[in-house]
Amino acid sequence: MRLFLLSLPAVLVLGLFFLLPLTLVLIEGASLEVLARLWNTADLRAALGQSLLLGGCSGLLAVIIGVPVAVHLSRLRPSVRAWMQVVIALPLTFSGLIVAYGFILMLGRAGFITQVLAALGGDPVVISGWFYGPLGLALAYTYFLTPRVVLMLVPVLLNLDRAQLAAAASLGAPRWRVAVDIVGPQLAPTLVASFCLVAAVALGAYGTALALVGTQLNILPLRLYSLIADAGSDFPLAAALSLVLLAVCSLIMAVAEMTIAQWEARHVRPH
């Protein structure tokens, strides 16, 4: 009973701010009529496609950048690594708006890098043009997605059995073969899982996108915002869109969880 009382605040918060809104969204959006309307709206289907593309690309970019960073961190002394991880995790504490503002200061029309390139003869409009589109958004997303990838990979790299690497070398494997044959396959499930996680985060990210591109870009979170905030708000369609976003993100996360679970079931000895 005491334990239940202790968990009561958490249960209340969960009920009020998760279960209740979710139920309301379900009631509002989970009807065949609304879902059919959503499916028949071509630009909403396109928004789903573009969101998946943006999430996939920025997720992939974050993994590509994150892997060498994680490998480097795993080789550092524990004390240095701890400090480096604090620094690397800093972007996770920033809100999307702050991230967007930082990028505008760097790459916007009056941004520092844009101005330097303009001084070298570039056109600020052209230079910053790409930044206020999908590419710039992917770059900004990568900024706060990469730390997530790094923080997921470092423990796995630290737990790699060094004797396996030594064994491979003694059996005749050059470094690249050790990386491809031994490290790669053991890292793969976490790579897939981290990609899924950051892709799902990117799929639902909203603040950075709104600050950088307004509602010009056709992606799910911004369409959702438009459906709620604009004068012609359409709550049933917004609810259906929320459900689609929720379902897609949940599906991606399920893939991540299943990848890890399957790998562990096959390769980790039960204790």
């Binding site: 030594a166 070398a169 003694s170 059996l171 053991q186 096959r266 390769h267």
Partner: protein
């Protein structure tokens, strides 16, 4: 293929541990066991031979070729690790075939050779299993098969049996010896288990605090240890602090002991060494020779099956004894020829 270490030294950066001026010559087809207490440098020596560490000084020769600067992958040595170090994502057969794959051997031949090794390691039918689906003993046999399949120049075993239970250890050490002899491969076997070393090695090297104290056949090492440290580490030993009285007698806590003390200065401090099984025991003093005979009682009696290991207290001093007899013991005698004297200074 011989393996020669010539005055090899190595110190871990910022530490005092390592190995110092170790010279060792392991002949073709020989199994040499490296033993010593934890931290004595035996695994370090193995890492130096395998190429995972580079010596600060000295030369390591494999098959007559100095291997300074040669990376581990180019040394062509089979290494078996304490943790097995099997690749968890590869099946037993894939693990064994991996070194063949690295050497560009076609898939069909790889499979055939891996199957043959599985058969020799008594692992028929286990080839498709992942390491997590194998027992500790089976994993170690896969590791051994993997280290042998590419016909390496030498085999390095780093405490390969220490993670196994006692019954498997005994069975597997005989298998290791069998496979080693079958392949005729020069082998260095690092272990902290002296019984394991004495039972399978052609020669045993004793390391202590980074220095090689003695290299000898198991029997020589046991019967004629070079100093008190070796005597204490290999087998059970009585090492009694003693004072030389004359060339036929030393004084110990137990009492006066007749022994061969020729060449030692009267009054010098020594250690009187004899093995527990060399004690003569009897239910009454009159059954024993008078020389070095002591009456007393047993203070601890350990039943070890075929043997009894006991602590005998004469009232003045205590010794460790072993006997197959189960009779009462109230007297012991130490044959003078069983006693060896080590200078106390050499005791570490």
């Amino acid at each position: 293929m011989s393996l020669i270490l010539d005055t090899v030294s190595y110190r871990y950066p910022g530490q005092t541990s390592g190995v110092e001026s170790v010279s060792l010559d392991v002949q073709k087809g020989e199994l040499c066991a490296l033993i010593g207490p934890s931290g004595c440098g035996k695994s370090t020596l193995l890492k130096l031979i395998a190429g995972f560490l580079n010596p600060d000084s000295g030369v390591i020769q494999i098959a007559g070729r100095a291997v300074q600067g040669v990376p581990p992958r180019a040394r062509n040595l089979g290494v078996v690790f304490q943790s097995y170090a099997l690749f968890p994502h590869m099946t037993a057969a894939e693990n064994i075939a991996y070194p063949l794959k690295l050497r560009g051997i076609p898939a069909a031949e790889r499979r055939a050779r891996a199957e043959a090794m599985l058969h020799r390691a008594r692992l028929d039918g286990f080839g498709e299993r992942l390491p997590a689906q194998l027992s500790g003993g089976q994993q170690q046999r896969v590791a051994l098969a993997r280290a042998l399949v590419f016909s390496p120049q030498a085999l390095l075993l780093d405490e390969p049996l220490s993670a196994l239970d006692a019954a498997h250890r005994v069975a597997l050490r005989d298998e290791i010896r069998g496979l080693q002899q079958e392949h005729g491969i020069t082998t260095i076997h690092v272990t902290h288990d002296q019984e394991e070393a004495l039972s399978i090695a052609d020669r045993v090297a004793v390391l202590h605090e980074g220095r090689l104290l003695q290299v000898a056949s198991p029997r020589t090492l046991y019967d004629h240890p070079i100093d008190a440290t070796v005597a204490a580490f290999v087998g059970q030993a009585n090492l009694l602090p003693a004072l030389v009285r004359n060339e036929r007698c030393v004084e110990t806590a137990l009492g006066l002991l007749s022994c061969h003390a020729k060449g030692l200065l009267p009054g010098s401090n020594v250690l009187a060494f004899f093995r527990p099984e060399q004690l003569l025991t009897a239910p009454a003093p009159e059954f024993l020779p008078e020389v070095n005979r002591f009456s007393g009682h047993i203070t601890a009696d350990r039943f070890l099956g075929a043997l009894r290991r006991f602590d005998f207290d004469s009232g003045a001093g205590r010794v460790l004894g072993e006997t197959a007899s189960r009779a009462a013991i109230t007297a012991i005698a130490v044959p003078p020829e069983a006693i060896r004297l080590f200078p106390a200074l050499t005791a570490r």
